[in-house]
């Protein structure tokens, strides 16, 4: 599906898109790269699109802290579960707790007007670039 024009999701931005059958996907722009995650938090269903982007605070031992990967984590607006925007893996249990991730990439409008992707709520213009999500 076509999530929207690239210009609509600037670096640091995000967009919530309807993926049909009630599913929602949130698309993030991380410094020009696009990532798409299911919007529903696997814990209790909070809307990840409404959360803040944050980073990793790590501590090799008590009292020694560093802040890394600023803006690369999304924190659920309800219970603060954090997920890596690039992988969908949770911060506290990355192996077992993940939010579904969908491949996303940019395509030129000229390549999209022929299909197969669909954009039901806006017209696709050949001269623009679009974010495409494989969902």
């Amino acid at each position: 599906m076509i999530a929207g024009p690239v210009a609509e999701i600037p670096p640091g931005g995000r967009k919530l898109v309807e993926a049909g059958e009630g599913r929602r996907i949130v698309v993030f722009n991380l410094d020009g790269e696009f990532y798409a995650l299911a919007n529903r938090c696997p814990h209790q269903g909070g809307s990840l699109c409404d959360g803040i982007r944050t980073g990793h605070v790590t501590a090799p031992e008590p009292g020694i802290y560093s802040y890394e990967r600023r803006g690369e984590m999304i924190r659920c607006p309800w219970h603060s579960w954090e997920f890596d925007i690039r992988t969908g893996k949770s911060w506290f249990d990355p192996r077992r707790v993940q939010v579904r991730q969908f491949p996303a990439h940019v395509e030129k409008g000229s390549a999209l007007v022929e299909g197969p992707y669909r954009a039901e709520t806006f017209p696709v213009r050949v001269e623009d670039d679009y974010v495409v999500v494989e969902a």
């Binding site: 269903g45 909070g46 809307s47 803040i52 607006p77 309800w78 219970h79 603060s80």
Partner: protein, 368 residues
């Protein structure tokens, strides 16, 4: 009191066939000006000149730790231009209508005047908070019930406030905090229990409060995660004190609700007390019934947050030991640790038990 007819609703958990009752909702005034009509000129001037001065070390009356999210709230619970749960329309949309809640019980936390060092001001603010609940919420929304906020360090003023609300079906319970200046069974608080029993209202202890003491036996902790874990231990003190001081012997009609304190700890407190009681009866000769029986008969607990052991069977054990008929559902809306009714209860709990937790138990307790 009006008896509810559970509404059919797509957002409601399927098991909530006896209704969905949320016993922990936290309304907040948009600004302190909302209290002005309910305060005398004398106390309004006090408030605007001196502000609130809760009994709380280090913090000037503010919560001592940053709480996970701003105003300890869900980030999606901020209405346009307002603070979380300050707007009835928005709250209806996001909570009551969204989940098909039949009855929601309000527990106003801040500002409420509870724990203020000035007893007169504490009483005036508690009274104003109750008037504000009526005006801003209860008269406008029949699904909501209020809590009689009391200035609990002044039991005479508290009892007067309870008696003034007796018989008003808008109020479902009396509200205290889990941290009090002395253990809650101390006779100084008995006039509160006496008035509550007279009025037919349960007494709820909500986690948190302003005792003036450090919140752990080892002093002030370093992290919020320690404070939020302490909610359970703060109630352990209160349960033990209520039992051994003989409060339930003196007031057999008293019903106590513990809100936001978990409950997996309660069976162990009961077993431990029973064990000691066998040997130390002569120290507390006024106790004629085993502590565990008193706890089982007089204390109700709420689900948010309920402890979630890894093995589901252990959830069932905890509920069995705590009393299936004494567990009440709570969302804690709009706070960050909110529970979604469709997701909150562990899947292993059988449907008829869910039905009771969602609605049946609260309806029996409160008479909804």
């Amino acid at each position: 009191m009006n008896v509810i007819q559970p509404i059919q609703h797509p957002g409601k958990p399927a098991a909530a066939t006896l209704g969905l009752v949320d016993v922990d909702i936290h309304p907040r005034a948009k600004s302190i000006d909302e209290f002005r009509p309910f305060l005398s000129a004398r106390w309004w001037e006090h408030l605007t000149t001196w502000g609130m001065r809760q009994r709380h070390g280090y913090t000037g009356g503010q919560p001592p730790f940053p709480k996970a999210q701003p105003m300890a709230s869900r980030r999606d619970a901020w209405p346009p231009g307002g603070t979380p749960c300050s707007d009835l329309e928005f709250m209806r949309f996001q909570l009551l209508d969204n989940y098909g809640i039949d009855v929601g019980v309000l527990n106003p936390l801040q500002p409420s005047g509870q724990g203020d060092r000035n007893n007169g001001f504490s009483a005036a603010m508690a009274h104003a908070t109750n008037e504000w609940q009526l005006e801003a919420w209860l008269r406008k929304e029949p699904r909501l019930r209020g809590s009689v906020v009391v200035p609990y360090e002044d039991s005479a003023a508290s009892a007067a406030e309870i008696r003034a609300r007796a018989g008003d079906p808008n109020f479902a319970q009396v509200l205290m905090m889990s941290r009090t200046a002395e253990p809650a069974g101390n006779p100084r608080y008995w006039p509160i229990y006496e008035a509550a029993v007279e009025a037919g209202l349960p007494v709820a202890f909500h986690a948190f409060g302003y005792s003036g003491w450090a919140m752990t036996n080892g002093g002030w902790p370093s992290f919020y995660i320690e404070e939020v874990s302490e909610h359970a231990t703060s109630c352990q003190n209160q349960v033990i004190s209520l039992v051994v001081e003989g409060v339930f012997e003196r007031f057999p009609g008293l019903k106590v609700v513990l809100i936001e304190c978990g409950f997996a700890w309660m069976p162990s407190v009961a077993w431990r007390l029973d064990g000691h009681w066998k040997h130390l009866k002569s120290e507390v000769p006024h106790l004629t019934r085993a502590p565990s029986e008193q706890i089982r008969d007089h204390i109700w607990v709420s689900t948010q947050p309920m402890e979630e052991p890894e093995r589901g069977a252990h959830v069932l054990d905890i509920c069995e030991w705590s009393g299936w008929d004494h567990i009440l559902f709570a969302t804690d809306y709009p706070h960050w640790d909110f529970d979604d009714p469709r997701e909150a209860l562990p899947g292993i709990i059988p449907a008829e038990r869910r039905r009771d937790i969602f609605g049946g138990n609260a309806r029996k307790l409160y008479g909804f």
